[in-house]
């Protein structure tokens, strides 16, 4: 046995995994630009990548619709993958997913509040925050959700699996009830916007609304990636991590803020896209083990890949109409969750 050999073999297989994922992501990104209800030639796609006043109709479709949608898909997928992995680490529970434990519905509820009541009760804030009003509201909502879930599910310093899931059910139910009450208050138009949060879609993005959230999501992903080593130590146990010199309280707070920031901004622009945060980290762990130095970047790439593929189906399957992407990911993710539940049954109950 040599640890050096073990380590180097592991590094090699990780590099290959990341390369394969990056390659698949490049292909799917190209497909996202090239494939759609409108057939578009390579020349127009190329032209669309450069700023120009004088573009053909097809090039404009790529530049104004497909390109922002591609960037949004990459950001949302990466954020959901990374935040899913980080939340699973934070709760030391492999079943934690922003959707399942209620972080996404917290964000959606807050976004709904901003839409329905923002102009009446907080017009100053709405004016001040502009395009950031929705993401900031969603950030606050997911923050409250994470902190309450954390408080509810914590038992003697560790998170019990069952109580985490139960806390998630409670949070989801409360957010659902509040959203239901909002629909009662809302006008017809606001109602349509609310439905949007619960189904999830990448189809509404414009350059103007993309920029602020893309910035926030990039920050969330970049800073979470830097927590990989600390998360590894943390998984030994809260006290054990403290004994190894980790400032546990600070790390937990950082992760809560980053998770809320990432999930909040993702939900603000794309609604609830479930199960990506669950599936991406699990698939990476299956191939490459539990080390967060591979799980986090791998989940970012795979999360982006999953969202891109789901969106490709959403855009083309029922063309010229569109399917909501959240419906697709949940249809695929639901059975996956049940399978996981079976796998972890013993640890959970």
């Amino acid at each position: 046995m040599s640890l050096r050999n073990l380590h180097e073999a592991q590094e090699r297989s990780r590099r290959i995994l990341l390369l394969v994922l990056a390659a698949m992501l490049s292909v799917s990104s190209f497909l996202a630009l090239a494939v759609g209800p409108v057939p578009i030639g390579a020349g127009d796609i190329w032209a669309a990548l450069w700023p120009s006043e004088d573009l053909s109709r097809d090039a404009q479709i790529v530049q104004q619709i497909r390109l922002p949608r591609l960037i949004l898909g990459l950001c949302v997928g990466a954020v959901l993958g990374v935040c899913g992995a980080a939340l699973q680490g934070l709760f030391r529970n492999p079943l934690a997913d922003p959707g399942i434990i209620g972080v996404s519905s917290g964000a959606a509820l807050a976004a709904g509040l901003v839409i329905v009541t923002g102009n009446t009760f907080a017009s100053g804030f709405m004016e001040w925050a502009g395009n950031y009003a929705l993401p900031l509201g969603a950030f606050a909502g997911s923050m409250i959700a994470i902190v309450s879930i954390y408080a509810l599910s914590q038992r003697a310093g560790t998170t019990s699996g069952a109580s985490l899931i139960l806390a998630g059910i409670a949070i989801n139910a409360m957010a659902g009830a509040a959203l239901g009450y909002l629909t009662f208050l809302s006008s017809d138009n606001q109602l349509r916007q609310l439905t949007f949060w619960t189904l999830g879609s990448l189809g509404r993005i414009t350059w103007d609304s993309l920029v602020p959230v893309a910035v926030l999501m990039t920050i969330a992903v970049a800073l979470t990636l830097r927590k990989a080593a600390a998360l590894n130590t943390y998984l030994l146990g809260e006290r054990e991590a403290g004994h190894l010199g980790l400032n546990v309280e600070r790390m937990k707070k950082t992760l809560i803020v980053l998770g809320a920031l990432g999930v909040g901004s993702a939900v603000a622009v794309s609604g609830i896209i479930g199960f990506v945060g669950l599936a991406a980290p699990h698939i990476i762990r299956l191939f490459a083990g539990a080390d967060h130095r591979i799980v986090l970047p791998g989940s970012a790439l795979l999360g982006a890949l999953l969202v891109m593929c789901a969106d490709l189906i959403a855009r083309t399957a029922a063309a010229p109409a569109e399917l909501p992407i959240g419906v697709l990911t949940s249809a695929l993710g639901g059975p996956f969750f049940l399978w996981l539940l079976g796998r972890y049954r013993r640890e959970l109950f």
Partner: protein
């Protein structure tokens, strides 16, 4: 030089877990704590580890209060193995051991050598590539001990004394590996480390302890060498045993050990 408690009390709710406890762990010595369940052994150990913020009294490392040391500084000087370490994630054994590394120190020949030495020390060489959750309870315990040893060895070059705190390290181990684990602890002590070890097995305590501390109801009942401490009277008192059982035990402990 010692890791020590000075008149420490810990209260949980209305119940005092330990009361006015003073003890020291000295470099070069393996100290064993014995006592019935609920006697306060683990509480005393966690105060020594620097965990218990609600403790009254003082815990000091070579004279410096633990509360004034940063988690990182403390991690260079003392390592802890707690009773159970459930991990739901599929880390490999060598990855767990590598978590002993200080933050920002990456792989090098030196770190490999230290971690390999720790794995060998606990008879884990064959298991280095295995997934931690698939190990048996005893194997996991050995991995945790190896991780704790490596943690202190990563700072060997500073030449400062360091301390290893073990809470029932042999609980799930088979006979052979009980000796493997405690011999590793003794070797660590012989290289001028201080070891504190909570045990339930009196035979092992007699075999390995340089000093024994008996705890009862949150207090220290007696301290001293194995021969003077492990008498029928003290055993009967500490474990609340009928006299004839305690006498049999004391008798068997005084018989020469079979190799």
């Amino acid at each position: 030089m010692a890791l020590e408690l000075k008149d420490v009390s810990v209260v949980a709710g209305r119940k005092a877990l330990i009361e006015g406890v003073s003890l020291s762990v000295h470099p070069g010595k393996l100290t064993v704590i014995l006592g019935a369940n609920g006697a306060g052994k683990s509480t005393a150990l966690s105060v020594l580890a620097g965990d218990s913020v609600s403790a009254k009294g003082e815990a000091r490392l070579d004279g410096v209060p633990l509360s004034s040391l940063s988690p990182q500084a403390l991690a260079e000087r003392r390592a802890v193995v707690l009773q159970h370490a459930p991990i739901n994630f599929a880390f490999k054994v060598h990855e767990i051991v590598s978590l002993s590394r200080p933050a920002l120190r990456s792989e090098s020949n030196r770190t490999y050598a230290i971690e390999e030495r720790a794995l060998h020390e606990l008879d884990l060489a064959e298991l280095a590539g295995r997934s931690y959750p698939t190990l048996s309870g005893g194997e996991r315990q050995r991995v945790q001990i190896a991780r704790a040893l490596a943690q202190l060895w990563h700072h060997e070059e500073t030449g400062q004394s360091s301390y290893l705190l073990l809470d029932e390290p042999t609980a799930h181990l088979d006979l052979k590996h009980q000796f493997v684990a405690l011999e590793a602890a003794r070797r660590f002590a012989q290289q001028n480390g201080g070891v504190l070890c909570i045990l339930h097995d009196l035979t092992l305590a007699r075999e390995f302890a340089d000093e024994i501390i008996l705890m009862r109801n949150g207090n220290i009942a007696a301290k001293g060498g194995a021969a003077s401490i492990l008498t029928a009277d003290t055993i009967a008192e500490i474990y609340d045993l009928p006299a004839h059982r305690a006498e049999n035990l004391a008798l068997s402990l005084s018989a020469p050990m079979l190799q």
